[in-house]
Amino acid sequence: MPERFVTRGFVGRRESAGAQANRIPPGQHLVKDFPVLSAGPTPRTDLAKWTFRIEGLVKEPVSWGWNDFQKLPAQDFVKDISCVTKWTKLDTRWRGVSVDILLEQVELDRRAAFVTAFSDGGYTTNIPLPELVNGQAFVAYGYDGRPLAPEHGGPARLVVPHLYFWKSAKWVRGLRVMEKDVSGFWESLGYNNHGDPWKEERYTGD
């Protein structure tokens, strides 16, 4: 997904309601706040114990501690996000590390095709590997110029903005690379395996 191009002359100018509407996927409504959704208690992970790991179909698993993760090349990114509970928030501002950078550190097995993101608290979500690369996904630790708050998934969450936001696993601790697709926490109970908001892939069978 290409970054939105904003010319200097338009910075700060209000976008027309019509232009905003074109950015809201079908069945969604716009919100200005940032709703907090959670399927469980908010973990408060000690950063000294935090790790991010890539495992599964890789030649050697790799794991970063918090300080090493902060040394990886990071970038700021601005994205529209859509939750399957029907809210869409425009221009959310994040800071984090592209999954491309992380995957550069491992040698993928040629059978690698799917990924399960796993989190503190046991949450999982599944995403096809090709949808996590080429600038489409990040592990974010900053939001709106501040460290990512625990209720929004801090210290770090996956951000895959082109899919419904349940795919953007809060409190993410790693990626498991696999040959076959394995349904995650919500996908195993009626939610769509893919979750493209523009196709309204909300539930199994959509």
């Binding site: 709703p35 907090v36 959704l37 959670s38 399927a39 469980g40 208690p41 908010t42 973990p43 408060r44 992970t45 000690d46 399957v84 509970t85 503190d120 608290g121 046991g122 625990p150 209720e151 349940w166 919500w186 195993s188 109970l189 009626g190 939610y191 909300r202 539930y203 199994t204 069978g205």
Partner: protein, 93 residues
């Protein structure tokens, strides 16, 4: 989980009473449920309930393991009770 928990979003299992009675056609909140992970027994109405989510998640009060999940879809309601079992009712006195 050994880390401290933030429970701002948590309700009790009575928040799932409507959804459960739709499914089972009965009052379920007084039914006792045992956590398959740690053995804690609570009435379903006393479980930790997370409803600000794509579904309803009921968790053990002692270890926060998921005991019941409920998702409403346009094609029906799905329930997962893998994480718990219901012991026989206590003898009447």
């Amino acid at each position: 989980m050994s880390e401290p928990l933030d429970d701002e979003l948590v309700l009790d299992g009575n928040a799932a009473a409507g959804a459960l009675s739709e499914i089972y056609g009965d009052e379920m909140t007084t039914v006792l449920a045992e956590c398959a992970s740690c053995g804690q027994v609570d009435p379903i109405g006393g479980l930790l309930a997370y409803v600000h989510a794509p579904g309803i998640v009921l968790r053990c009060t002692a270890c926060a393991t998921v005991m019941i999940r409920i998702v409403h879809t346009p094609r029906g309601t799905l329930v997962d009770v893998k994480g718990k079992r219901i012991p026989p009712p206590p003898p009447r006195t």
